[in-house]
């Protein structure tokens, strides 16, 4: 293979591509989750949804939960300790413009998913989810969970039963008169 120019050209192209792609990743600010900015204007329902995602990205549990009208994910016992935003399960997530109906607002979320076909090519699927918000004390608050966010709950310590041999001296009567 030493004398095969085509092979070495392909290999060189791969190495150059990896280096260039690595440099692009290092330079791209939006590749890093911590570069996300909160939107200041929370009077718009879509900005509330957006900020809830940003809070989840920062793993800011308190701020994330503050965007909900009632605590999501059950009664939060055990407590949520971390938030995971699963990008790999979603191809693209777009937050649409809200439709306000009095004290209720609906924000469409477009989730684009790509499913590889078994042999060749891929299928594209778009799921539209309408997220419901309600106005609470003049502020828009979410009334349902957001897609793509997975909470990690505090581990509940499992009570360990005492070892059978632990209390033998006191509890087991010794035989013999």
């Amino acid at each position: 293979m030493r004398e095969d120019r085509v092979f070495w050209t392909i290999l060189s192209a791969i190495v150059i591509l990896v280096l260039v792609a690595g440099a692009v990743v290092a330079l791209r600010s939006n590749a890093r989750p911590h570069q996300w900015q909160y939107r200041a204007d929370e009077s718009k329902p879509e900005n509330v949804v957006y900020n809830a995602y940003v809070a989840a990205l920062y793993d800011d549990v308190d701020r994330f939960l503050s965007y909900f009208a009632t605590p999501p994910y059950g009664d939060q016992r055990p407590k949520i300790v971390h938030l995971h935003v699963e990008f790999t399960r979603t191809g693209e997530l777009r937050i649409g413009t809200a439709v306000v109906e009095g004290e209720t607002a609906y924000v469409p979320i477009y989730i684009v998913r790509e499913h590889p076909e078994p042999l060749l090519g891929q299928r594209i699927h778009v799921e539209v989810r309408r997220i419901r918000l309600t106005r609470q004390n003049g502020q828009w608050r979410l009334t349902q969970e957001l897609p793509g966010i997975y909470p990690e709950f505090e581990a509940i310590p499992i009570p360990v039963p005492p070892h059978p041999s632990a209390g033998n001296d006191n509890s087991t009567p010794q035989g013999g008169d």
Binding site: V6, F7, I14, G91, Q122
Partner: protein
């Protein structure tokens, strides 16, 4: 005795080598996780450190044993040694290719705009892939060192040569498949750039463009595939040269490499063509409805597969054309296998298409009698599918079957082809399947006729005839054609003046012997006269 010893040494050396590589890769990955503050897995560390401690000295010991044995010429040329070498290269290739794919995908996805879940996890994953890549490259280098030591690359004989050819064949064909897959994917993404598969409102993207991850996957597949493909193509082309040893030039695996390439390219091209033809007909019938995301992904896939399949087909066909047997010689096994398989696939596809067309026609003719509640569009899909399959299948069958029919008319070898196992399997296979379909479908019709005669269930009569007549009629025609070919073959075999190639060879040998004897007698006579 020597072979038993070899089996022991090479199996032990290979098993211990796997242990060494697995131990090294896992230990480095555990240390990397520790460096990235993901904790230190004590149990895993102990496991892989234990594996490395046991397998490393074992491998060194057996490698030393091998190095002593390899001083002998016989050992260097042993088939088991080559199996060991190419098993190392195969493992190295799998590790290198899979990690290279993962590495490319991991780097390209965020470079194209997709968001990284966790930068630390991403960096760790990247380094883990680099570790596997280095492990794979280490194995490849190890295998290449053994090949260099043996000094017989390309000159092996028997099984020793087969292991090398098999490795190159597998690398080349898997590379070709990955390249086709990747190229089609990249082209499809290009079509999506021109016309997106989904009509999304122009809103800000939250997680990055949806196409970043699939495009990265396809580019990674294409580049990894091209690298593997080139290894196969380079070596097979080296042995295509006139200066190459005849054993290499004529080897079955080398021929199979090119014919598999032709078959892959042709299949991709024809499937795409059939799909485009079907969609075109549906569009003509006015049946292309529904949202864009329902039809555009499949249509763009076919539009991408068409040029890729064509390039592969023509490229590989260009390689085999100069190497095909001269017109008057008997073709190789691989060539014959290819021709019969391609004929069988072509005929099966055309058969399926014709059944669809005949079903539509019989239903159209008999629908009033059958009293079916038919909508106006009931015939669109089966007719479009039927025509598309027939248009693609019939020329494929005709083109290849004509070649097989030409062989039976070759002087001296025609009879050999008529009696060949491949031809018989093909002919009797189709005759059997067609015959069974005729039996089943005609029995269904006969059952309904009997019920009608007996005054029971007469309503189903026309329905059964409509359903069964299409397949039965097509199968009957196919059965008749193949039976006629079988009968002709049998009749020609019985003709006394027709000699098989084997008979001709025997007679030639006998003639040579007699001429030799005659020459000896003449020499003796002339010696006596002198």
């Amino acid at each position: 005795m020597r072979n038993v010893q070899r089996v022991y040494i090479y199996v032990m050396a290979y098993a211990s080598l796997i242990g060494v590589i697995a131990g090294l890769i896992n230990l480095v990955q555990i240390l990397l996780r520790h460096l990235f503050q993901f904790g230190f897995e004590v149990e895993d560390f102990a496991l892989w450190a234990g594996v490395l401690v046991v397998t490393f000295p074992l491998h060194v010991g057996h490698a030393w044993w091998m190095a002593r044995l390899v001083r002998e010429e016989e050992e260097r040329r042993a088939a088991l040694r080559k199996l060991y070498t190419y098993a190392i290269l195969t493992l190295g290739t799998i590790l290198t290719a899979s990690s290279l794919y993962q590495l490319l995908q991991t780097v390209l996805s965020p470079a194209l705009g997709s968001k990284i879940d966790d930068l630390t996890v991403w960096e760790l994953h990247l380094l883990e892939m680099v570790t596997v890549l280095l492990g794979g490259l280490l194995l490849l280098e190890y295998g290449i060192i053994i090949i260099r030591q043996d000094h017989d690359f390309g000159q092996e004989v028997g099984w020793a040569a087969i292991w090398r050819r098999l490795y190159i064949f597998l690398v080349g064909i898997s590379g070709l498949y990955l390249s086709i897959r990747g190229a089609i994917g990249v082209l499809q993404m290009g079509y999506f750039a021109l016309l997106p598969p989904v009509a999304l409102p122009g809103l800000p993207t939250f997680l990055g463009p949806w196409w970043a991850v699939p495009l990265a996957k396809h580019l990674a597949t294409l580049l990894t595939g091209l690298l593997l493909w080139r290894v196969g193509w380079f070596w097979e082309a080296q042995w295509s040269r006139a200066s190459a040893p005849a054993a290499e030039r004529e080897s079955l695996l080398r021929q199979a490499y090119y014919y598999v390439g032709v078959a892959l390219g042709l299949s991709v091209f024809l499937v795409a063509l059939a799909y485009l033809f079907r969609q075109g007909l549906l569009w003509l019938f006015g049946s292309m409805r529904g949202p864009r995301e329902e039809w555009w992904p499949s249509l763009s896939l076919a539009l991408s597969a068409l040029p890729v399949g064509l390039v592969v087909w023509l490229g590989y066909r260009g390689q085999i054309l100069p190497e095909q047997h001269p017109p008057k010689e008997y073709p190789s096994l691989v060539e014959r296998l290819y021709i019969y398989i391609a004929s069988a696939v072509g005929l099966s596809v055309a058969w399926l298409g014709i059944v669809n067309i005949v079903r539509v026609l019989t239903r159209a003719l008999l629908w009033e009698t059958a009293s079916y509640s038919l909508t106006t569009e009931w015939w669109h899909k089966p007719l479009a599918t039927g025509i598309a399959l027939s248009v693609v299948g019939l020329p494929t069958w005709f083109w290849h079957w004509r070649q097989a029919q030409q062989w039976i008319h070759l002087p001296h070898v025609g009879l050999r082809e008529r009696t060949s196992l491949l031809r018989r399997v093909y002919l009797y296979g189709f005759a059997l399947v067609a015959g069974l379909i005729v039996i089943v479908d005609l029995s269904r019709v006969a059952q309904q006729v009997w019920l009608w005669i007996l005054g029971v269930e007469s309503q189903k009569l026309w329905g059964e005839i409509v359903n069964a007549s299409g397949p039965a009629l097509t199968a009957f025609l196919i059965w008749v054609y193949h039976m006629q070919v079988i009968v002709t073959d049998a009749r020609v075999q019985k003709q006394p003046d027709m000699l098989s190639e084997e008979d001709v060879e025997k007679l030639q040998a006998e003639k040579e012997k007699l001429l030799q004897r005659l020459k000896e007698i003449e020499d003796k006579l002339s010696a006596m006269q002198e």
